[in-house]
């Protein structure tokens, strides 16, 4: 009934869908197995993509030839570029999406990808021979062979949903949990643990009074996520979100449910994320705050369903309802469904290599929440890397690995496999030491050439990159040579309170002034506008960033170069740490477990002291 596949992907969320697309686009024959064909590319939690650090990740996925950027662009109902007042490394695109459109777009793109087959069933175990994965066994008993297997189980592995004292098995509201894989892998020596996450209630938008809330509109300009020319909504078509607040009255009502809260009665064992607490956690831990912000987010163009961002909870449903009714604008609220907490299995990611292959079983790859992460973007980028490497492994090719100085994706994977995680791992820009290099505006310049060489990014993407590079060179040259006449500039300079010119000045020098931007300069100075008339906004912005922030970019580049010695010092797989008798016990254990690939990675393992790395360095004769 089934041919032998190159790659089987288990699960069709953000990780699984990217994995299937990447492997297939590289030329693998792929089977995507999901428990429910109707929930491919489902947004289980909030209907939004991107945000700070996450937006950068989506841009990177797109630059590498993944689908998330395109899907997001084509299904967005609102777009905002966050942190625009800060430096360019912080500019972070964020979209509200139409949940249903997002999922159907994903399915459409996958169906249009040659080499992707679909099958609806639960995978209950992996076929493992000689510590090598070579297929899966489904709930119906089908054995399907493959050279590589990617598991993206999300919250489904032994998922348990908690609402107050009610406790039901399930991977998502209304969907069954998956069983079997954890139990099987543990017998092979895998370590598994539990994590917890939560989601807020969904309510009927027709029952809300928006006049009591603040409106939050989309940007006037929509730049989107994909570097390709994708059809997006116009600014005028955007939907607004709304902001409202809880009150002490709301908090008091919520507290009446604490004695039945699965969090406080100890029924939940898993660890939840500190940066995404439930509303009960917020009022408990920050007792001095008399109100908390809630974002009222529409779930799509053609639905009245509303996502109440900031009100994640697992309190009894009638307490949720009574408390939310006390929030301004929610007096007549009707619930579609209550919020809940969900516990699920994950495999501490220190059991993985840089290619996201497991160390214990070869040809087996993990991506997404199974690795302890949270977030669609974090899942999707892992899926992409796992999909690429499952293909590489199936075809006996070298793994594709991104460094910390290459991409947020590189930071994420290095963090996961070197440090592991105790709580659901989310990306922050502060995790990236080379943040100024890893910007949303240059993900294509950074990554598309690599992906093109690999064979994933298509010709069109590469041509765009080459054109952009040429344009930047050309614009830089113009700015370096173009002398601005005081007569042309001074009126504009005066108007923004900047010192006037007394003699001609080169455009690139003027651009370095803090409150001056290139668009305004072009606007104010017709001769400069003429000189740059044929350049695209994207290329102009790219050049402006490179010129304006050159000093900072160079500073970071210097650090990359300086530390590259450590990153390039490969520790042989066969290295025997026990021979280095003087390592601390903890370092010895960690080194043996994680088997760092480089001295750089060794230095980032938690619990390893600098002196341990120095010892290693001296011992290795460096």
């Amino acid at each position: 009934m089934f041919p032998e596949y190159d790659v089987i992907v288990v699960g069709a969320g953000h990780a699984g869908s990217e994995a299937a697309a990447a492997a297939a686009n590289l030329g693998s024959k792929v089977l995507l197995i999901t428990m429910n064909m109707q929930t491919i590319g489902q947004m289980s939690c909030n209907p939004a993509m991107g945000g700070i650090a996450k937006g950068q990740i989506v841009r990177e996925i797109d630059a590498l030839g993944g689908y998330s950027g395109i899907v997001t662009d084509e299904s967005m109902i609102q777009f905002r570029m966050l942190n625009k007042s800060k430096g360019p490394a912080m500019w972070s695109p964020r979209a509200q999406n139409d949940r249903m459109l997002f999922a159907s777009k994903w399915r459409e793109m996958l169906e249009n990808t040659p080499n992707v087959d679909f099958y609806q069933d639960m995978v209950k175990s992996i076929i493992i021979k000689n510590n090598r994965a070579c297929g899966v066994v489904t709930g119906l008993g089908n054995e399907i062979k493959a050279k590589s297997v990617v598991v993206t189980s999300g919250t489904f592995l032994n998922g348990i949903i908690h609402i107050g004292e009610k406790k039901l098995g399930g991977g998502r509201a209304g969907e069954n949990a998956a069983t079997g894989i954890t139990e099987q892998l543990v017998t092979f020596g895998f370590e598994a643990d539990r994590l917890k996450t939560g989601t807020p209630p969904r309510v009927d938008g027709r029952s809300l009074d928006y006049t009591k809330m603040e409106e939050q509109r989309g940007d006037e300009e929509i730049t989107g996520f994909s570097y390709l020319d994708v059809k997006k909504i116009t600014p005028a078509e955007q939907r607004s979100c709304y902001i409202t607040y809880t009150s002490e009255q709301v908090h008091d009502m919520l507290k009446t449910g604490f004695d039945r809260s699965p969090m406080y009665t100890g029924r939940i064992e898993g660890v939840g994320p500190r940066y995404c607490p439930s509303i009960e956690d917020k009022i408990n831990r920050f007792a001095d705050r008399d109100r908390h912000q809630l974002f009222v987010e529409p779930e799509g163009f053609n639905t009245v369903e509303i996502y109440v961002n900031g009100f994640s909870t697992s309190l009894p449903d009638e307490v949720q309802y009574k408390a939310l009714s006390m929030v301004p604008g929610f007096e007549n609220v009707r619930f579609f469904r209550p919020g809940y907490a969900i516990e699920y299995d994950y495999f501490p990611p220190t059991q993985l290599t840089y290619s996201l292959e497991t160390k214990i079983i070869s040809h087996l790859f993990f991506a997404g929440q199974i690795n302890g992460t949270t977030g669609y973007e974090e899942a999707a980028c892992q899926g992409l890397i796992a999909g690429i490497n499952a293909h590489q492994k199936a075809k006996e090719l070298e793994p594709f690995i991104l460094k910390r100085s290459d991409a947020y994706v590189g930071v994420l994977i290095d963090d996961l496999i070197s440090k592991g995680t105790e709580e659901p791992y989310r990306m922050f820009t502060s995790r990236a030491e080379y943040r100024t290099l890893l910007r949303q505006d240059n993900a294509d310049l950074r990554l598309t050439p690599m992906s093109y060489r690999l064979g994933l990014a298509k010709q069109e993407r590469m041509e765009n990159v080459l054109a952009k590079e040429d344009a930047v060179k050309r614009i830089r040259k113009t700015l370096n040579e173009f002398a601005i006449d005081p007569s042309e500039a001074n009126q504009y300079l005066e108007s923004i309170g900047s010192a006037v010119l007394t003699e001609k000045q080169r455009a690139n020098k003027l651009l370095l002034r803090p409150n001056i931007d290139l668009a305004a300069m072009i606007n104010a100075m017709p001769s400069l506008a003429a000189a740059l008339a044929n350049e695209t906004a994207d290329s102009l912005e790219q050049t402006e960033i490179q010129v304006k922030y050159e000093r900072y970019i160079e500073k970071e580049q210097e650090l990359v170069t300086k530390l590259s010695q450590m990153e390039e010092a490969i520790i042989p797989d066969s290295f025997d740490y026990s021979k280095v008798g003087s390592l601390s016990n903890e370092a010895l254990q960690k080194f043996n477990k994680i088997k760092p690939r480089t001295l750089g990675q060794a230095s980032r393992i938690s619990g390893v002291n600098p002196s341990d790395v120095q010892i290693l360095m001296v011992y290795m004769g460096r």
């Binding site: 945000g51 700070i52 650090a53 966050l82 942190n83 007042s85 800060k86 430096g87 490394a89 912080m90 908390h292 912000q293 922050f428 820009t429 502060s430 030491e433 943040r435 100024t436 803090p514 922030y549 900072y552 500073k555 970071e556 650090l559 300086k562 530390l563 010695q565 450590m566 008798g581 003087s582 390592l583 601390s584 230095s603 600098p610 002196s611 341990d612 790395v613 120095q614 010892i615 360095m617 001296v618 011992y619 290795m620 004769g621 460096r622």
Partner: protein
């Protein structure tokens, strides 16, 4: 890339005390076989059966040939300086005997240690961090109490501790900056500018304190160069003899210093003062200022940390002194005016007034103690405390300088409303450079540098 360290598990040995004549020489042996090797030469007792941290008196013999009567100290791994088995043999201070003992140890399987190798092993065995390892180098180079005290303070980790405080300060500062970046969309209160400036200034003060201490640390480690100048017959050689005669007994205790240097070294409160160009004064052949000219004498004085201007109180006018002072000030020289021959003006002798003037009688040894205390104050200021953390290492100063520059960049950037993500680059540079001192970020160049600085035997 260098080859792996020669013979990782072998046993090394070297003379641990300075070469030359002394009452006792200590030979250190370190490595797995250290105790076995010494045991072969120590017939009176089975050393392998003795507990750690014990002393044993006996004869060292090579077969029937008596080498020396020695005291042997045993330190078993890991409770030793290097973390390995260590034996320290205290033998008599004859060069010949020491060479004989070393030769026999080598014959039994030990290897002569390379410079810095004992410390390298201690470092590799986790016995000390990088700053501590460097402090050992300082101790080896140190020959006064204050210098040793400072080096010991570093070994105990005082310097690392101060740096850790600084690191913590910077981390809290950067956390506030990061909060605004990653959580700008959250409903939280961000740090206000006065708060950021305050944190930054605290860090700047801390770094500056460490940097300033380098001057002091350097003085303690390398001594203070002092030039005595003055007209003929001002009494320079009398002063020199008075100063040195008194000190000779103390100074000659310092092992390893030659007679030549002893004659020119003063030890005041544990700090070394080196009197430069004293030969000329002694020989009465020339007067610095008059024979080699003002320019050249100034060049000499510029080599000095402190200039002592000695004059005859009975024959010097106020105008002359003022002219000298103006010249010193123009050259930014630290100086003391020393009025000599107070004995010839009955009842006019009085202790120094403004701190720049000391009245003495070199001949009658009056005011000499006062002169020394003034010298000491001028050299190390008054705030030398035994528990103060001092920076004595040039590599540390270079890194701290980078930290300071980065902090100032941050301050400028804050002043200019530069966005936080760009500020953060400088904060990371700060932490990175701090790491270069504590060893958290390191590379082979640093290690090569550190270990090449160690002399044999430690």
């Amino acid at each position: 890339m260098h080859g792996k360290l020669a013979g990782w598990n072998d046993t090394i040995t070297a003379l641990a005390t300075p070469q030359g004549i002394g009452a006792i020489g200590v030979i250190r042996v370190s490595g797995t076989a250290a105790i076995d090797i010494v045991n072969e030469l120590f017939p009176s007792k089975d050393l392998t059966a003795q507990p750690s941290h014990t002393l044993h008196v006996g004869f060292l013999k090579s077969g029937e040939v008596l080498l020396d009567e020695v005291v042997v100290a045993l330190f078993k791994a890991p409770k030793s300086f290097t973390g390995e088995n260590v034996v320290e043999i205290s033998c008599h201070g004859s060069h010949y005997i020491q060479e004989q003992v070393l030769a026999q140890l080598v014959k039994q399987g030990a290897r002569i240690a390379k410079p810095g190798e004992f410390t390298q092993r201690a470092f590799i065995n986790g016995k000390m961090d990088l700053t501590q390892a460097e402090a050992v180098a300082d101790i080896i180079a140190s020959n006064t109490e204050a210098s040793k005290r400072n080096a010991l303070q570093n070994i105990r980790g005082g310097f690392s501790h101060t740096l850790k405080q600084l690191r913590d300060q910077l981390i809290s500062f950067s956390a506030l900056i990061e909060l605004e970046l990653d959580f700008s969309q959250e409903d939280v209160t961000f740090a206000d500018r006065p708060q950021l400036f305050r944190l930054l200034d605290e860090a700047l003060v801390q770094v500056n304190k460490l940097l300033q201490s380098f001057k002091l640390g350097n003085v303690i480690k390398n001594g203070v160069q002092v030039a005595i100048i003055g007209k003929p017959n001002a009494g320079k050689s009398t002063l020199l003899n008075t100063l040195l005669n008194e000190e000779r007994a103390i100074v000659s205790d310092i092992a390893g210093t030659t007679r030549d240097t002893i004659e020119e070294v003063l030890n005041i409160n544990g700090v070394l003062f080196r009197l430069i160009d004293t030969a000329g004064i002694r020989e009465h052949t020339s007067d610095v200022i008059e024979t080699i000219g003002v320019e050249k004498s100034m060049a000499k004085m510029r080599e000095a940390d402190i200039v002592l201007y000695l004059y005859d109180i009975t024959q010097t006018t106020a105008a002359e002194l003022q002219a000298m002072e103006a010249q010193f000030a123009a050259e930014h020289l630290q100086y003391l005016l020393v009025a000599n021959k107070a004995d010839q003006l009955p009842n006019t002798y009085s202790p120094a007034g403004n701190g720049k003037l000391v009245t003495i009688s070199a001949k009658n040894e009056q005011g000499i103690e006062d002169l020394k205390q003034q010298l000491f104050k001028l050299a190390v200021s008054e705030n030398l405390q035994t528990d103060q953390t001092l920076v004595t290492n040039a590599r540390h100063v270079a890194a701290l300088q980078e930290v300071y520059t980065a902090l100032q960049d941050i301050r400028d950037a804050l002043d200019n409303n530069i966005p936080g993500d760009l500020l953060a680059i400088d904060i990371r540079r700060c932490l990175h450079f701090l790491g270069e001192i504590t060893g958290e970020v390191t590379n082979e160049d640093q290690l090569d540098y550190i270990f090449s600085k160690f002399c044999i035997g430690k």
